[in-house]
Symmetry: C2
Subunit: 204 residues, 2 copies
Amino acid sequence: MWEFEEMTSEEVALLRRRYEPLTDSIRDLIDAALRTDAGDEVVQRATTALDEVTASLRNHQRTGTLGMNLTPDGESVPWGNLGNGLRNPLAPPLVVEYDGPLAAHIDVDLGAAYEGPPGHVHGGYCALVLDHLLGEVASGGSIETVAATGTISLRYQRPTRLGRLRVEASVQKTEGRKIFMAGSIADADGTTVTAEGLFIALRQ
Amino acid sequence: MWEFEEMTSEEVALLRRRYEPLTDSIRDLIDAALRTDAGDEVVQRATTALDEVTASLRNHQRTGTLGMNLTPDGESVPWGNLGNGLRNPLAPPLVVEYDGPLAAHIDVDLGAAYEGPPGHVHGGYCALVLDHLLGEVASGGSIETVAATGTISLRYQRPTRLGRLRVEASVQKTEGRKIFMAGSIADADGTTVTAEGLFIALRQ
């Protein structure tokens, strides 16, 4: 279904050492730039400096997207993924922790850049995180059985406050290639959004 | 329901002139950093330069998030919003164009930073964009009748290719405070995801 580039574990480690600090710096920059009150002079100097950095990075630029890499151990490495990409500054990144083979959770701290309604997480990002985690657990954390979203339904009980969130998902049942999933998001005051999804196992 | 800061149209124009070029530069940086093949020396120099820019912006930093501003004309200004925030580098930003009072569309070009499956849009971002547009059209583009997502259901027909997308949404019917919405996403080859949503009109 999807194409993967192969890479050794040593290559993965090298690239993580090289590029993760850069990605983290950009995540920090995003928050600083979004919330700065600096005046014209500081902002113009910042913009010029950033454009110089961008030019230096574009001197050595791949043409396509990053896609996924696979190590000989069968470990997949999500470089560019919007949810969990190690090199994607838009990803918090989401880190999935398994609670047995059929359930998992994500703990994530969402700041100003994930805002929708004032002080709250964009409702669409709640959908994104739930789709991400339900799909991950439906795939069983394995690259051999990638599961694609068929349908997902979300029920918003109340707005989700920015800050620390717990996202959970578990397999409810399977029927042939159909995997029925459920999940939820909670902020400090309890559950805010619940989700049900039907995922389809794809052969790799 | 939500709090808004008031701001004159002149203040809005001043802030857009000051901060939009910075935000655009960071959007470009994100793509360059994600797809660079540069080696250790270039990447380390870039990281140091970025940390200096971040420090200069943090010298003048607001404590909270940006929320929304409202001009005396009743125009709302989405500074920080994850979908359409003018100052949010994570927002493409999404720009809604109305096709009459009950329907609207978004044309948007999504690059490498929005990837899920290799070469394709993260399924969760499809959900995010649809939630964003359905909610916007349910609110009628007006700040007086904000509509909150009650439920949203998404059906994924096939993966959505990165590149130019057309997202559409329209009001199907209303019953009291309930607003029934429908929408879809299409890539160059046609419809990829459809959505139905129930939104609740909140009094402001």
